[in-house]
């Protein structure tokens, strides 16, 4: 428990030093980042303690007299503390170097003040044990991140993005509050213990579930509530984006697990709960990656990929809920573990990718992929680390993304156990959508790595890029190494997180996973499916190594101009651009994108003598057009109807006051 409390306390200490030490930027940077690193590490230790030991609760005398702050450290809280702590430590190390160059352009004191508050908010949400402290820390997290998003508030577009973010964060918070209100009404107390044991009628349970799904879904970025993600993440500074995309949306997943799986309890679940989550997850996965493919802004692309990965996590959760409803606790645990493993993986590789994007932005001064290129020569170490992130997110062995996708597929393949229901036939559809999303993600990351790092530089900034400093490399190296380790050693990791399925569905996978020894991952039974990442890795190294050995004795290489089928030396304009790479998909899925393109030719007076061609293509988010815009128009219409209330003269306002007074007197008597 000490460690669980020390983590947010250290973060608060960082906040305090952020405020007070604004004298010297250097000292401020070092102290704040160091304290955040320590906070992250203590969160990791607390997380491990929570996972391995039995649950502890405590009551702190902070808060209102009749509402003290309750905290709890159990398996679920422990797992998410682990996730938060790992990434916070890595990002803080990265910030040591990143803030230095950020200070040149912005007033970074804002960052030093609000980033620790943001971390405190997230840590507090995870260990909260009553609804009141949960909401307080939740709001702290949202508001602090708003200030992080609007760091660069000089630009109009950034302010709009920040406003959309704040609006949706608060809307989500209201929905979550509604869910807690339902639970409070039925149990009579704010404390999670009492809520957990309360008995709910089906309607109330479903209402609470819907409110929680919408509220936490809005924060996590499930379709159709994802609109703020691609707006807010690009404009925030890269270490903030890494934290937001890596951990904040996972805290929403934690909230969903805590409220729906733990407090409401899956015993109250209706048959359609799991199906709804599964559908939302599948559409997020495919929709997110399809939109990501068409972006040319590096960070916006990564933000859409976060939508996709949250969809994959939701698929795992939906599968777990379906199996729990039909009374298969081990299979429910499998779905849950797949989702949790993917949560951890995504935090690591998305954090890594955002940090890499920040490094690229810092060196080449642009996020626009159409202006980058050739960075593998100029930033070799960043390129390697970014490549590890790309391979992991594309779910390729032997890295960690493949393990969580494999587990999700295994969970989906258990569908035939649900004999005689329509869900048994629907679940393979979701698996097909997952496969589609995974393959499209691989395509997208070939595009990202190929356009940004390979080829030749497309602008002056890219041509003059330099490698980033040691702190930033260290911050990126930690998640990269963890990606490899988590990919190779899932057999150690899954029993470690066993406490979570035990609490939520009363089943554990630990024994069956490690049944055949430390080498083989056998989620349910060895005859069913098994995977040995260590053997795969060793075999890959062996096969590659044999030929590398041959290479040393082979002919010496010769360097010259590229062959290019006999055409002359290609210049940078002849390469594929980000837009051209995704053109085949744009054409195939034209109905989903509703592309609008414009072609302008400047000529020397004759069509045969073209001076310049300008091609512009715009891809729409259909959900923005058919879901958000009509809502906005309805609200605007409604407010216009009420406008007359604001346009009165003195007589009008006096009349309002008089009528209100009459009504109140009438009600009183």
């Amino acid at each position: 428990m000490f460690w669980a409390l020390s983590a947010p306390s250290l973060a608060l200490a960082a906040f305090v030093s952020g405020i007070s030490l604004f004298g010297s930027h250097d000292i401020q940077r070092r102290v704040v980042c160091l304290l955040l690193v320590l906070s992250g590490m203590s969160a990791v230790i607390a997380g491990l303690a929570g996972l391995l030991a039995s649950p502890i609760t405590a009551t702190l005398p902070i808060g209102l007299p009749w509402l003290p702050m309750h905290i709890r450290l159990d398996g679920l809280a422990g797992f998410f503390l682990l996730v938060i702590g790992l990434l916070v430590s890595a990002v803080s190390l990265y910030s040591m170097g990143y803030m230095r160059q950020l200070a040149a352009r912005f007033n970074v004191t804002t960052l030093y003040v609000f980033m620790p508050l943001f971390v405190t908010g997230m840590l507090g949400v995870v260990i909260a044990d009553d609804a009141y402290s949960f909401m307080i820390f939740w709001e702290l997290m949202s508001v602090a991140s708003y200030f992080l998003v609007t760091l660069d508030h000089e630009q109009d577009a950034n302010r709009k993005a920040g406003f959309l973010y704040l609006l949706m964060a608060h809307l989500g918070g209201l929905l979550i509050l509604g869910s807690f209100a339902v639970l409070y009404a039925t149990s009579g107390s704010f404390e999670f213990d009492v809520m957990h044991n309360a008995v709910l009628t089906p309607t109330w349970a479903s209402l609470s579930f819907i409110l929680a799904l919408c509220g936490f879904g809005m924060k996590a970025g499930l379709i159709p509530f994802h609109a703020w993600l691609p707006e807010a993440h690009p404009v925030a500074p890269s270490n903030a984006s890494a934290l937001m995309s890596g951990i904040m949306i996972k805290v929403a997943i934690f909230g969903f697990l805590r409220v729906v799986w733990d407090l409401v309890g899956l015993e109250h679940a209706a048959w359609w709960w799991g199906g709804l989550v599964l559908t939302a997850g599948s559409s997020s996965a495919v929709g997110g990656v399809l939109l990501a493919l068409q972006q040319h802004d590096l960070k916006r692309l990564l933000a859409y990929h976060s939508v996709e990965n949250i969809g994959i996590i939701a698929i795992g959760l939906g599968l777990g809920m379906i199996f729990a409803y039909y009374d298969y606790p081990t299979l429910a645990a499998l779905g849950l573990v797949a989702a949790l493993y993917h949560t951890l993986n995504h935090a690591l590789f998305k954090g890594l990718l955002f940090m890499g994007a920040g490094a690229v932005l810092h060196s080449a001064h642009s996020r626009n992929m159409e202006q980058l290129g050739g960075l593998i020569q100029r930033m070799p170490r960043t390129a390697v680390l970014f490549l590890i992130g790309c391979i992991s997110i594309s779910a390729l062995p032997p890295f960690n993304g493949f393990v969580s996708e494999w587990l999700t597929f295994q969970a989906a393949l258990m569908a035939p156990q649900l004999k005689g229901t329509i869900l048994a036939a629907l679940i393979p559809f979701s698996a097909a959508m997952l496969a589609l999303a995974g393959a499209l993600a691989a395509a997208c990351f070939v595009k990202v790595f190929g356009i940004v790092f390979q080829g030749s530089p497309r602008s002056q900034g890219a041509a003059e890029a330099h490698e980033v400093d040691g702190w930033m490399q260290l911050g990126m190296a930690i998640p990269a190494v963890l990606c490899l380790l988590l990919g190779v050693l899932p057999v150690w990791m899954i029993p470690l997180i066993d406490a979570v399925p035990d609490i939520l569905v009363n089943a554990t996978l630990g024994e069956s996973v490690a049944n055949s020894g430390w080498l083989w991952l056998t989620p349910i039974a060895e005859a069913r499916a098994s995977y040995s990442p260590i053997i795969v890795l060793l075999a890959l190294l062996l096969a590659g190594g044999v030929f590398l050995f041959i290479q040393y004795r082979g002919a010496v290489k010769r360097r010259t101009a590229p062959w290019n089928c006999g055409y002359s030396y290609p210049n940078t304009r002849m390469q594929y651009t980000a837009t051209s790479f995704s053109q085949p998909l744009r054409r195939i899925f034209a109905n989903l994108y509703q592309t609008q393109d414009k072609l302008l030719r400047t000529e020397h007076g004759n069509t045969l003598l073209t001076k310049k061609i300008h091609y512009q293509v715009h891809v729409q988010d259909l959900i923005w057009r058919y879901f958000y815009l009509p809502i906005r128009q309805t609200i605007e219409w409604l407010t216009r109807q009420v406008d007359w209330l604001h346009e009165q003269q003195i007589h009008g306002y006096l009349t309002f006051t008089f009528i209100t007074l009459l009504i109140l007197l009438g009600m009183l008597l």
Partner: protein
């Protein structure tokens, strides 16, 4: 321990026979077109020539360009080692199931595409873009037809899948027929044969795979060509052993193994004759008809899954 050695021998068998079978297909096609075709050992001679030659690299090629062929070859040969060829139960099938096999091939494709983007030519970008697009559309169809198989077998372990077909006799299962059709269409797309891609072309309008490896030469090109040949043999063996596994050896008894090897080669011959006929009969499709073709494969796989539930699982 001896099972591991047999597994290694099987892997070396596939890797070693790959150039021969690729040349065999070429020769069969040539015969159908009234030509004589290359001599059967030409594949080996080509590879040997490429290994000896000096590789020529573009001046802006990075370390990734040089490392990619090794990764491609390693991933493809590991995928080949996982696939049971003669013995039904080999130890590596427990190390990596059929989903891992698909993922290993995806790893090889990922690095091919990265190698293509490395030099910054238009050909590389075009090949990478088209290949990743088609791969994205192939994956759902491939995985769905594999799911039909694993739902029938209640496992994704390839040994278990082969066992089920061997032991439950000649049952008539429409779901497996649909899955076979889907897998056949997907194989044509994945191995880059007509009508999806022309393996013998050097025109950019029709290139997908050839465009990606345009800049490679010497031993790098040798490794990539070899990996491509292994992939064709791997997919052929996959189809034969998952759907028509009769003849495979249940235990490492020398007599059974010899019979299994002969059976395997005989079945391969039939399959390759069919492949050559198919390639000669069909013309290459327009690039943007390929998504329809892959959609057809996906539909067949879905029909397989639906008929499995409706007709075979029943109530």
């Amino acid at each position: 321990m001896s099972l591991w050695i047999w597994n290694l021998i099987e892997a070396l068998l596939i890797i070693g026979m790959a150039p021969f079978t690729a040349t065999l297909v070429k020769r069969l096609k040539a015969r159908l077109q009234n030509r004589r075709g290359p001599p059967l050992l030409q594949g080996y001679r080509n590879l040997a020539k490429l290994f000896i030659k000096q590789p020529v690299l573009a001046s802006q090629a990075s370390w990734l360009f040089r490392a990619a062929p090794y990764v491609i070859f390693a991933a493809t040969s590991l995928a080949a080692a996982i696939m049971p060829v003669i013995l039904v139960a080999t130890p590596l099938t427990s190390a990596a199931d059929i989903i891992a096999l698909v993922a290993l091939l995806a790893l090889a494709r990922f690095f091919t595409a990265l190698g293509a983007m490395d030099v910054g030519t238009a050909f590389g970008g075009m090949g990478a873009s088209r290949e990743m697009t088609f791969a994205a559309l192939t994956e759902p169809a491939l995985l769905m037809s594999i799911f039909v198989l694993s739902m029938v077998a209640h496992s994704t372990n390839m040994t278990a899948m082969i066992d089920i077909v061997l032991n439950t006799g000649l049952g008539l299962r429409p779901s497996l027929a649909f899955a076979l059709a889907a897998l056949g269409l997907v194989t044509i797309a994945e191995t880059g044969r007509i009508p999806v891609d022309n393996p013998a072309t050097h025109l950019e309008l029709t290139m997908v795979h050839e465009a990606m490896i345009l800049e490679y030469s010497g031993r790098y090109l040798a490794l990539i060509e070899w990996a491509n040949q292994i992939k064709l043999l791997l997919f052929a063996t996959l189809i034969l052993n998952l759907f028509f596994p009769w003849g495979m050896a249940g235990s490492p008894d020398p007599l059974y193994m010899v019979i299994a090897a002969v059976a395997w080669f005989g079945k391969l011959l039939v399959l390759f004759v069919l492949l050559a006929l198919f390639e000669t009969w069909m013309a290459k499709m327009r690039i943007f008809r390929v998504p329809e073709y892959l959609g057809l494969a996906f539909l067949l796989a879905i029909l397989g899954m639906l008929t499995h539930y409706i007709l075979e699982v029943g109530v």
